[in-house]
C-alpha cells in the first residue's frame, strides 16, 4: 500500500460520469464552491461526440498557487460510470482515492491495493429516498457533491449559497437540492473515514472571474460592435453563437421598441455563413462567423474573395482535432497554417491567439477594429480547451472613451468635396485604400466589386502589370498589419540564458507553470508569448537573440514554427518543436519533460531530476 496522498489546496479530482445524466451542473457546483473559498480551480470537460449514454469526465484541479493548466494524474476519482471503471481505477495516482457507489458489492479484483477505497451506497440511499427515476438520478449527483464536500472540508454554507443563487425564485427546487446536499454530507461525516485531501479557505482568487472562452469571445463581439452574425452549428464553436444570441438579447434590445440591434442567421452551411458575413462587411456592418477547422475549409473560396476584394470579416475558429469525423470534442491548435493561408492564389490572413477567456473578450472586440482598418478577414484562434471550459481569469474591462475604428471609409461629405476616390488606390503608403459603403452618394464613389481583375480605380483589367501592382500593395498592407496586431508578451528568466521558449494560446497556463518549475530546477528560459500573425519584429529578434528556442504547440506538424520559419526566413535549426497533439490539453509535466530531456541532451547544467 502506497502512503495515502495528503494535500491541502493542491490536488486533482476527476469525475467519471455518463453523458446526459445531469452530472455537469452538480460537478460545476463542486468546483465553484472551492472557488468561493478563495482557492483557484481549473476545470475541464472531457466529453464524447454524443448527447446521451457515452462516458464523460470532468476534471477539477485545485491549486492554491494558481496554476490553472491541466496537471495530469488523478488524486481523487469519483467513479460514477461502470462503463469506464477499469480505466478510471487505473488512472488514479498511487496513494490516491477512489470514491464509488458501493450499493452493489464488487470483487476485490476490480480494485487496486495501492489506492484508498471510499465506498458510499449512493444508489441505495437514492432508491430509499426517491421514487421518481429522474429524481433518483439527479439527486444522486447532489448527494455525492455533499459527501465530497464533507470529506474535503468544503464549507457547507458556501454550497448552500450557490444553490440559493442557482434556484433563486424557484423555492420548489431549492429545498430538495439542499436536502440532498445535507443527506450526502451527513452520511459522509458519520460513515466515512477522513481522507488526506483538504480544501482550506485562502484568499487567492481575488476579483478573478470564472467563464468559458466562447462566451467571452461572444461578449467581445457585442462590445466590439458586431451587428450581423451568421453561423452553422459545429462543435466546439456552437456555444459562441449561442452566447452571442444570449448577450444580444440582454444588451442589444432597443429599450423603447423592443427591437433587435443585431441580426443573427443560422446559415444552411459554412459557405452561406461566411457569404452573409462578407455581404454585411461589404455593406458597412460589423459581421462575424464562428466555426471550427472543417468549417474554415468550406469557407476558403470566399476567404480568397474577401482577401482580394478587401472586405472586412471576423472569424472565430474554435480549433479541435480534425477531420469532420475526427475528434470534434478534443482540443488542438492545428488550424494555424490552414487559416493563415486559407484560400487560393497568394493569400494570407491575420490571426489572433487569445490565451484565456479574458483575451477572447479583448481580441473578440479588437478583431472588428482590425478587420475594418485592414479591410480583410481576421481570425480569432481559440481552441476547445479555452472555448468550452470555464477558466479562471482576470475580469473583463472596457474603456468607455474608446471609439470604434471604422477604418478608411469615404463619406458623402468627402465625396462631395471632390476628393479623389479609387477603391484600390493607396493614397498614404500604408497599402490600405479607401472604400465607400453602397448607397453613399448619387454620382460618386460607386464601384464594382470583383476579385483581382481590376485596376486601382476598380475598372476591369486583366493586365499583368495591374495585377502585380495590386499584389504588391496587398503586401504593403500586410506589413502595416504587423504594426497593428497585439505585440508579443515577453517574460525573461531570472538570469541570463541562451535558451528561449515561444508559446501561444491555451498553452499559456501550463507553460507558466513549467517555467516556474524549470526555474526551481535551475533551468532558465526566456519566454515569449506570440499573440498574433503576422509576427512582430520582436518575435524574430527573440529567436535570433537565443542559441536555441523551443516552440511549444498543440499540433503534430509544428505549424507555428513553419509559419515563423517561412515568413521570417529564420534558420529552422534554431527552433526546436515541442509538440503535444493527443487531443487533451497540454500539461506542465509534458512541457517540463520535453524541454528538460532536450536540454539534457544538450548537456545543460545544472539539471536535477525533473518532476514526473
Amino acid at each position: 500500500m502506497s502512503k495515502p496522498i495528503t494535500s491541502i489546496n493542491d490536488f486533482v479530482v476527476k469525475f467519471a460520469n455518463v453523458n446526459g445524466s445531469g452530472s455537469a451542473s452538480a460537478n460545476t457546483l463542486f468546483a465553484k464552491s472551492i472557488l468561493r473559498m478563495g482557492v483557484p480551480v481549473a476545470t475541464r470537460n472531457i466529453f464524447p461526440s454524443n448527447i446521451q449514454g457515452l462516458p464523460t469526465w470532468y476534471e477539477v484541479r485545485v491549486n492554491e498557487a494558481g496554476h490553472i493548466g491541466r496537471r495530469g494524474g488523478v488524486d481523487l476519482m469519483v467513479a460514477m460510470n461502470p462503463q469506464t471503471w477499469a480505466q478510471d481505477v487505473a488512472s488514479i495516482d498511487p496513494g490516491g482515492y477512489l470514491f464509488y457507489d458501493s450499493t452493489k458489492p464488487m470483487p476485490p479484483s476490480r480494485f487496486r491495493d495501492d489506492i484508498n477505497i471510499v465506498g458510499m451506497p449512493l444508489t441505495e440511499i437514492c432508491n430509499r429516498t426517491y421514487t421518481d427515476p429522474r429524481q433518483r438520478q439527479l439527486f444522486k449527483n447532489i448527494i455525492y457533491v455533499g459527501a465530497l464536500s464533507a470529506l474535503l472540508d468544503i464549507d457547507a454554507s458556501v454550497i448552500e449559497s450557490l444553490i440559493g443563487e442557482q434556484y433563486k425564485g424557484k423555492d420548489k427546487l431549492m429545498a430538495p437540492n439542499l436536502q440532498a446536499l445535507h443527506m450526502g454530507r451527513d452520511y459522509a461525516q458519520k460513515e466515512i473515514a477522513p481522507i488526506g485531501l483538504k480544501v482550506r479557505h485562502a484568499d487567492r482568487v481575488g476579483d478573478r472571474i470564472f467563464i468559458d472562452g466562447n462566451s467571452a469571445a461572444a461578449l467581445g463581439a457585442v462590445y466590439g460592435g458586431a451587428t450581423v452574425a451568421a453561423w452553422y452549428p459545429i462543435t466546439p464553436s456552437t456555444s459562441l453563437a449561442e452566447a452571442f444570441m444570449r448577450y444580444c438579447r440582454r444588451y442589444r434590445t432597443d429599450p423603447d421598441t423592443g427591437k433587435a440591434r443585431y441580426a443573427i442567421v443560422q446559415g444552411e452551411d459554412e459557405l452561406a455563413s461566411i457569404g452573409i458575413v462578407i455581404g454585411a462587411g461589404w455593406n458597412g456592418a460589423r459581421a462575424f462567423t464562428c466555426t471550427a477547422g472543417p468549417g474554415v475549409s468550406l469557407m476558403t473560396e470566399f476567404l480568397g474573395l474577401a482577401y482580394f476584394a478587401e472586405i472586412p470579416a471576423v472569424l472565430f475558429n474554435v480549433q479541435r482535432g480534425g477531420p469532420s469525423t475526427g475528434m470534434p470534442t478534443r482540443t488542438q491548435q492545428a488550424d494555424i497554417i490552414s487559416c493563415a493561408y486559407a484560400s487560393h492564389g497568394d493569400t494570407k490572413h491575420p490571426l489572433l491567439f487569445p490565451e484565456d477567456p479574458r483575451e477572447c473578450f479583448e481580441m473578440g472586440a479588437m478583431a472588428f477594429d482590425l478587420a475594418d482598418r485592414l479591410q480583410t478577414p481576421i481570425f480569432v484562434m481559440l481552441d476547445l480547451d479555452i472555448g468550452m471550459n470555464e477558466w479562471l481569469c482576470h475580469p473583463f474591462a472596457w474603456d468607455d472613451s474608446k471609439r470604434y475604428d471604422r477604418g478608411k471609409v469615404m463619406t458623402y461629405e468627402a465625396l462631395e468635396t471632390g476628393k479623389e476616390f479609387g477603391r484600390y488606390l493607396d493614397v498614404d503608403g500604408d497599402g490600405i485604400p479607401y472604400r465607400t459603403y453602397p448607397g453613399t452618394h448619387p454620382t460618386r464613389g460607386a464601384f464594382f466589386t470583383r476579385g483581382t481583375s481590376r485596376d486601382r480605380y476598380a475598372k476591369y483589367s486583366e493586365l499583368g502589370s495591374v495585377y502585380v501592382d495590386n499584389m504588391q500593395r496587398l503586401l504593403r498592407k500586410f506589413e502595416t498589419a504587423k504594426t497593428l496586431m497585439p505585440a508579443p508578451v515577453r517574460r525573461d528568466a531570472k538570469q541570463k540564458t541562451k535558451y528561449g521558449v515561444i508559446y501561444f494560446g491555451s498553452t499559456t497556463p501550463s507553460m507558466h507553470e513549467a517555467l516556474d518549475s524549470l526555474e526551481e530546477q535551475g533551468i532558465h528560459l526566456d519566454a515569449l508569448r506570440v499573440r498574433a500573425f503576422p509576427f512582430a519584429e520582436e518575435v524574430v529578434d527573440f529567436v535570433l537573440g537565443h542559441d536555441q528556442v523551443f516552440l511549444v504547440e498543440q499540433n503534430r506538424d509544428a505549424q507555428l514554427r513553419s509559419l515563423l520559419v517561412t515568413e521570417s526566413s529564420i534558420d529552422p535549426a534554431r527552433i526546436v518543436p515541442v509538440l503535444h497533439y493527443d487531443g487533451t490539453p497540454i500539461t506542465a509535466r509534458f512541457i517540463i519533460g520535453e524541454i528538460a530531456a532536450r536540454l539534457g541532451a544538450l548537456k545543460v547544467a545544472p539539471l536535477r531530476e525533473v518532476a514526473r
Partner: protein, 351 residues
C-alpha cells in the same frame, strides 16, 4: 460586343423622370456579351423599370455570382455599387448586405448554372428566409462562358448544339421558389420586354423574396433547332397567364377593362398591380393551385409566363428577426456597446 465607348453627352430632348434623370443615367458600361444575347434585353428591362419607378440608382445594390448573367450588373445602373461574388453564392452575400442596410433595394442577378447547379442550396435558403430582394435568374439552359455544356435547367431531351440530347431531369426553379415560400414569383421571356418591365417594377417594390425566372436564349450555344430554350421554341410554347400593368400609387387609373378580366393587387408600399387575366382558371394568390397549374402545363410542353404568385402582405427577413428600423450599418457605440458599468455587473455574476 462593341469596343466603342458610350458617349457621355445625352441628347437634350431625352425624357426625364421625377428625379430629373434620363434613362441613360440608369445604364452601365458597354456589354461584353455576344450580340443579340437575351441577357442584354434583361439589362435593358432593368434600366427601364428603375427609370420608370424614379428609383435613385445609387440606392440599389446589384449583386451576382459567376457566369455570363453575373457579368451583367456592370452593364446597368452605373451609379450603384455592384458585387460580382463567388459562383453560386450571390444569395448569401446579398442576404448579408441586406441585413447590414435594410434601406437599399437589393437586386440579385444570376444564371441557371449559378443558381440551379452550384448555387441551388443558396438559392433555396435565401428564398426560405424571405430576404427582401429581386432575384432574377437569366435562364438559358446552358453554360455560355465555358462554351455550351448543359445546365441543370435544360429539359430532358433538349439537344445541345452538337446534337446530343440531355438525359437529366430539369430543375424547375419556379416550382422550387413556390415550394420554398417565395412571396412573388414570375416567369418571363427576355424577348418580351412589355411583359418583363412591369414584372421587374412590381418585384422591386415587393417587400419580400421576389423571384423572376427569365428565359433568356443563348444566341451562341442554345438557340438552335432541338433546343427548348431557343427564341423560336419559347415564342411557340409561351403560355402567358396574365399581363401585368404596374401602377405606382400616384398614377391615376384610366384604362378600361372588360369586367371580370382584371384584378387590382395593392402591395405593401401602396403600389398597385393591375392584372389582366389571360388564363381564366389561373389564380396568382393560390400557391397550391399555381403549382398544380404549372406542373400540368409543363407536362404539356408549355412554358407558363406571367405573374404566377404574389402575396401582397409579405414579410421579409428583417420582420422575422425583428430588427430595428435604422440600418444596422448606421448604429454606433451608443447603440451597440453596453459599456463598462454593464461589464462590471456581469463580472460580479461570474464569481
Amino acid at each position: 460586343m462593341t469596343y466603342l465607348t458610350k458617349p457621355k453627352l445625352h441628347h437634350p430632348s431625352l425624357p426625364t423622370n421625377a428625379l430629373g434623370l434620363t434613362r441613360r443615367d440608369y445604364e452601365g458600361s458597354v456589354s461584353t456579351l455576344c450580340a443579340g444575347c437575351g441577357h442584354d434585353s434583361i439589362s435593358g428591362a432593368i434600366v427601364q423599370a428603375c427609370f420608370e419607378l424614379d428609383l435613385p440608382p445609387h440606392r440599389i445594390a446589384k449583386l451576382s455570382g459567376i457566369g455570363c448573367s453575373s457579368k451583367t450588373p456592370d452593364y446597368f445602373l452605373a451609379p450603384a455599387h455592384g458585387f460580382n461574388s463567388v459562383h453560386g453564392r450571390m444569395p448569401s452575400v446579398l442576404t448579408g448586405a441586406n441585413l447590414a442596410n435594410r434601406d437599399l433595394i437589393y437586386l440579385g442577378v444570376s444564371g441557371d448554372g449559378d443558381s440551379a447547379s452550384i448555387g441551388l442550396g443558396q438559392f433555396a435558403h435565401s428564398i426560405r428566409r424571405g430576404v427582401n430582394m429581386v432575384y432574377i435568374v437569366e435562364n438559358n439552359g446552358v453554360y455560355g462562358l465555358t462554351k455550351g455544356q448543359f445546365s441543370a435547367t435544360s429539359d430532358r431531351g433538349s439537344k445541345s448544339k452538337r446534337g446530343v440530347a440531355n438525359s437529366d431531369s430539369p430543375v424547375d426553379m419556379i416550382g422550387m421558389a413556390l415550394l420554398l415560400g417565395a412571396t412573388f414569383v414570375a416567369r418571363s421571356f427576355s424577348g418580351d420586354k412589355a411583359q418583363l418591365v412591369p414584372l421587374i417594377k412590381a418585384a422591386l417594390l415587393h417587400n419580400g423574396a421576389a423571384f423572376i425566372d427569365c428565359i433568356s436564349p443563348c444566341v451562341a450555344f442554345n438557340n438552335h433547332e432541338g433546343s427548348t430554350k431557343s427564341f423560336d421554341y419559347v415564342r411557340e410554347h409561351n403560355e402567358t397567364v396574365n399581363r401585368l400593368d404596374f401602377i405606382s400609387s400616384r398614377d391615376e387609373i384610366t384604362a378600361d377593362y372588360a369586367p371580370g378580366t382584371v384584378e387590382t393587387v395593392v402591395q405593401h408600399d401602396g403600389s398597385m398591380l393591375r392584372l389582366r387575366k389571360l388564363a381564366a382558371d389561373f389564380d396568382p394568390h393560390d400557391r397550391i393551385s399555381a403549382m398544380n397549374y404549372l406542373q400540368e402545363q409543363h407536362a404539356a410542353g408549355e412554358i407558363v409566363t406571367g405573374l404566377l404568385y404574389v402575396d401582397p402582405e409579405a414579410h421579409d427577413l428583417h420582420d422575422h428577426l425583428n430588427t430595428v428600423a435604422p440600418p444596422l450599418n448606421t448604429l454606433g457605440e451608443a447603440e451597440l456597446c453596453p459599456g463598462s458599468a454593464a461589464l462590471d455587473k456581469l463580472n460580479a455574476s461570474l464569481r
